[in-house]
C-alpha cells in the first residue's frame, strides 16, 4: 500500500499536510468509483477539486474524512496520510479532533434541532468552555445574518440556502485546521457565494486553515484556490497551479465558459454534444 507512487505534488516546497495516494474506492462491493486518485494539500493551502457530475469529488472527500463506511463504500487500495500518519483506521470523530472537518454535500443539517442547536453541536469536540463557543456562534451569525433571524427555527424547516449556511456555520464552529468543503456555494444567492469564498480566504490567511474545496463553480474556485485538480470519471486528468488552469484552453471551454465579448448566451448554446479531448 505504502508503495504507491509519489505523485506530482502541489509544489515540493510546502510540506504536504494531507496526501491522498492512489486510492481506489468501491461502493457496495461492486461499483468501482475512484480508480486511483492522488492529491495533496499543502499546509495552509487552498486546493480546488474540480470535475463534472459523478467524477468522484464527493467520494474523494468522504474517503478522506472516513465517512464512506456509512455508505457501504470502501477504500480498497492506496493510502491517505494526514500530517504524515495514515488515517484510514481512525474514527471520523478522531479526525475532527485533529482538526479535519467536512462540510457535506446536500445540506446535512440535523432537522429536528434548531439552528442554534445545530451550531452548538458543531462545537461538540471543543473543550474551551461555553463563553468561547458562544463567541464562535456570534461570529457565525455575523457571517450569516440570515441565520440569526432564524436561529430558533428547526433546521428541517428553513430554506435550502439557509440550511447550506447552517451546515457551513456548523463546520466553522469546530475551529478546524483543515476544512473539506463539498460544494459550499450550492444553492446560495450570488452575493453570498462571494461572501463564502471571502470567508474561506480569510480563514486561510488569518488562521492558517488549509482547505480542500470541491466545487462546480469553477470560476470562483480557481480564483480563490492556489492549486487545482480536475477529476473525470474517477481519475485525476489534469492538475496544476490555479492560475495556469484558469488559462488552460480546455478548462476555459468546458468549465469556465468563454468570458468577455465572446461569452455565449445560455440561450444560444449549440445543440450538439462536444467531446472532451482528454477523454478520447
Amino acid at each position: 500500500m505504502s508503495e504507491a507512487p509519489v505523485t506530482n505534488g502541489a509544489n515540493g516546497a510546502a510540506q504536504a499536510l494531507l496526501s491522498v495516494n492512489n486510492i481506489e474506492v468501491i461502493y457496495d462491493h461492486v461499483i468501482l468509483v475512484l480508480k486511483g486518485v492522488s492529491l495533496e494539500v499543502p499546509k495552509g493551502g487552498i486546493v480546488a477539486l474540480l470535475g463534472a457530475n459523478g467524477a468522484g469529488k464527493t467520494t474523494t472527500l468522504k474517503s478522506i474524512s472516513n465517512l464512506l463506511g456509512a455508505e457501504r463504500g470502501d477504500v480498497t487500495k492506496g493510502s491517505i496520510l494526514y500530517e504524515g500518519t495514515p488515517v484510514q483506521s481512525l474514527d471520523p470523530n478522531d479526525l475532527v479532533r485533529r482538526g479535519v472537518i467536512q462540510v457535506m454535500e446536500g445540506r446535512h443539517c440535523f432537522p429536528h434541532l434548531t439552528v442554534d442547536e445545530n451550531l452548538l453541536t458543531g462545537a461538540y469536540t471543543r473543550r474551551d468552555g461555553g463563553a468561547a463557543i458562544r463567541d464562535s456562534v456570534d461570529k457565525v451569525y455575523e457571517y450569516f445574518p440570515r441565520l440569526k433571524d432564524r436561529r430558533s427555527a428547526l433546521a428541517g424547516y428553513i430554506s435550502g440556502g439557509e440550511q447550506q449556511m447552517c451546515a457551513i456555520g456548523r463546520a466553522l464552529m469546530s475551529n478546524p485546521s483543515t476544512m473539506l468543503l463539498d460544494e459550499p456555494s450550492m444553492g446560495l444567492a450570488p452575493q453570498l457565494v462571494e461572501e463564502i469564498f471571502e470567508i474561506v480566504k480569510q480563514l486561510n490567511q488569518q488562521e492558517g486553515v488549509s482547505i480542500l474545496l470541491a466545487e462546480q463553480n469553477t470560476n470562483m474556485a480557481l480564483r480563490y484556490a492556489d492549486y487545482g485538480y480536475i477529476l473525470e470519471s474517477g481519475r485525476v486528468v489534469m492538475d496544476g497551479v490555479a492560475k495556469d488552469l484558469a488559462e488552460n484552453e480546455d478548462v476555459r471551454e468546458f468549465y469556465l465558459g468563454v468570458s468577455g465579448e465572446n461569452r455565449k448566451s445560455f440561450r444560444d448554446v449549440k445543440h450538439y454534444k462536444r467531446r472532451k479531448r482528454w477523454l478520447a
Binding site: I26, D28, H29, V30, I31, L32
Partner: protein
C-alpha cells in the same frame, strides 16, 4: 462468462418490459418451477417406492416443511407488498391471516348462526342454522377469504394516512390485538364451540380428498381415504406461484410504481399526482388479500384445526415481518428467500445439533438445542444485516452482478 446479456437485444418495448432482463433468469425460473411441480413430487414418489425413503419422511417433508414454507411465502409476499413496496410497516399480519382462516371456516360451514331458545322444560336448546350453502372447494374458499381480509385490511389501513413509520407499526398492533380478541370472543366466528377452536370440514377438489377423510366401499370393504400430502402440496404450490406472478405484475406496473413512490418519498409522490390515501389503502387491500389467502391456506392445509388466539398470535406477525426484512424489502424473490430462511433455519438447527452431539457422543438436551438455535438464529440475522442490509435478495443480486462481470473483478 455465461451469465451475460451479450447478444440479447430487445427490439420492442413489450419485450423489454418482460419480467426478466436476462434470458438466463427466465430459464432459471422455469427450471425452479419444473423442479417444484414435477421433480419433487415424482422424485419423492419414486424414492418411497424404491424403498430409499420412508413414507413418513416424505409426509414430513410435505406436511411440515413444504406446506409451511408455502404458507409463509404467501404471507411474506403479502406483507412485502405493504411494507417492502408501499413502505407501511405492519405488525398486524397474523391478525389478517386469522381473518382469512376464519372467513374460510365460515364459508366452508355455511355461515352458521345460532338459534337459541328455552324448551318447555326450561332447558336451553340451541341449533346452528346455515345462512349460505357450505362451500367445499378450497380454491374458492381461499379467494373468498382473501376478499374478506381485504376489506378488514382496508379498515385498519385508514389511520395510515396520518400515522407513519414505527408509529404506524405499533398502531397496527391494534388490529392484531383486536382481531385476535375477536377470534376468541365473537362466538359466531367459531360456531359457538366452547373452546373457540375451528376445524376444517372435509373438502375435495377435482375428486381428490383434500381435508378430512372419506370412507368409501371398495371391493365390498370400507376403506377410509385420507388426503395425500402431494395433493395439498400441489394445490398450495399452484396457488402461491399464481399469486407470486400476480404480485410481480403489480409491482412492476403502474400500481407498483405508485406504491414505491409513496414509500420512497410520499410528499414528492403526492406532488406528481399520486393520491396517498387511495394508494396506501390499495396496498393494504392487496396485502391483506394475500395474507388472507395465506391464513386460509394455513388453516385448510397446514393446521386443519386451530385456535385463533394461538395460531395467529403476535409472534406470527413478527415472524412474517422478519421474513420480509431478511429476505429483502421490496423484492418478490426476497419474500421466498426470507420465508425459507425463517422457516428452515430453525428446523435445520434443531435437527443438526443433536446430530452433531451424536457424532461426538454428547447428548444435547432439547432445551439447550432450542437455546442454541435461538442464539445462532439471532446471530445469523445480525450477521446478514451487517453483511447486506438490503436482505438476501440483494445478496443474490450482487452475486448475479458479480457473475455478470466475471471473470473481471469490477
Amino acid at each position: 462468462m455465461f451469465y451475460r446479456e451479450a447478444g440479447q437485444f430487445y427490439t420492442s418495448y413489450a419485450k423489454d418490459q418482460g419480467i426478466f432482463q436476462l434470458r438466463q433468469d427466465k430459464y432459471g425460473l422455469w427450471g425452479i418451477l419444473f423442479i417444484a411441480f414435477i421433480v419433487i413430487p415424482v422424485g419423492l414418489y419414486l424414492l418411497v417406492q424404491g424403498g430409499l425413503m420412508a413414507a413418513s419422511t416424505k409426509d414430513y417433508l410435505y406436511n411440515s416443511i413444504f406446506l409451511l414454507l408455502l404458507v409463509n411465502s404467501m404471507a411474506a409476499l403479502g406483507l412485502n407488498i405493504l411494507t417492502g413496496y408501499c413502505g407501511q410497516i405492519s405488525l398486524g399480519t397474523a391478525g389478517f391471516m386469522g381473518v382469512g382462516a376464519f372467513a374460510a371456516y365460515k364459508f366452508s360451514t355455511g355461515m352458521n348462526y345460532r338459534n337459541q331458545h328455552e324448551d318447555d322444560a326450561g332447558e336451553l336448546v340451541s341449533q346452528l342454522v346455515p345462512m349460505l350453502p357450505p362451500i367445499d372447494n378450497p380454491l374458492i374458499l381461499m379467494i373468498l377469504a382473501g376478499a374478506v381480509t381485504s376489506v378488514v385490511g382496508v379498515i385498519f389501513g385508514l389511520p395510515s394516512l396520518r400515522i407513519k413509520g414505527f408509529y404506524l407499526a405499533v398502531a397496527t398492533l391494534a388490529a392484531q390485538f383486536f382481531l385476535v380478541w375477536c377470534f376468541s370472543r365473537v362466538e359466531w366466528l367459531y360456531d359457538y364451540v366452547s373452546s373457540s377452536t375451528i376445524q376444517v370440514p372435509p373438502m375435495k377438489l377435482f375428486g381428490l380428498v383434500v381435508t378430512g377423510s372419506e370412507t368409501v366401499m371398495r371391493d365390498g370393504q370400507q376403506v377410509t381415504i385420507y388426503p395425500a400430502a402431494e395433493t395439498k402440496y400441489l394445490i398450495c404450490l399452484a396457488t402461491v406461484v399464481f399469486f407470486a406472478f400476480v404480485a410481480k405484475n403489480m409491482v412492476r406496473g403502474r400500481i407498483g410504481r405508485a406504491w414505491m413512490a409513496i414509500r420512497d418519498m410520499d410528499i414528492a409522490a403526492q406532488l406528481i399526482g399520486i393520491r396517498p390515501l387511495a394508494t396506501k389503502l390499495l396496498a393494504f387491500a392487496v396485502s391483506s388479500f394475500f395474507c388472507g389467502v395465506a391464513g386460509a391456506m394455513l388453516f385448510i392445509f397446514y393446521l386443519g384445526a386451530l385456535e385463533g388466539a394461538e395460531a395467529f398470535n403476535i409472534n406470527e406477525s413478527f415472524a412474517v415481518l422478519f421474513m420480509v426484512i431478511i429476505g429483502g424489502l421490496g423484492s418478490i424473490t426476497g419474500a421466498f428467500l426470507g420465508a425459507a430462511f425463517i422457516t428452515l433455519i430453525p428446523i435445520f438447527l434443531v435437527i443438526f445439533f443433536p446430530w452433531l452431539g451424536g457424532q461426538f457422543g454428547i447428548p444435547v438436551s432439547t432445551a439447550l438445542v432450542e437455546h442454541i438455535q435461538f442464539m445462532i438464529f439471532g446471530a445469523l440475522i445480525i450477521i446478514f444485516l451487517i453483511m447486506e442490509p438490503l436482505g438476501l435478495a440483494r445478496l443474490w443480486q450482487i452475486g448475479k452482478e458479480r457473475l455478470r462481470q466475471w471473470p473481471f473483478p469490477y
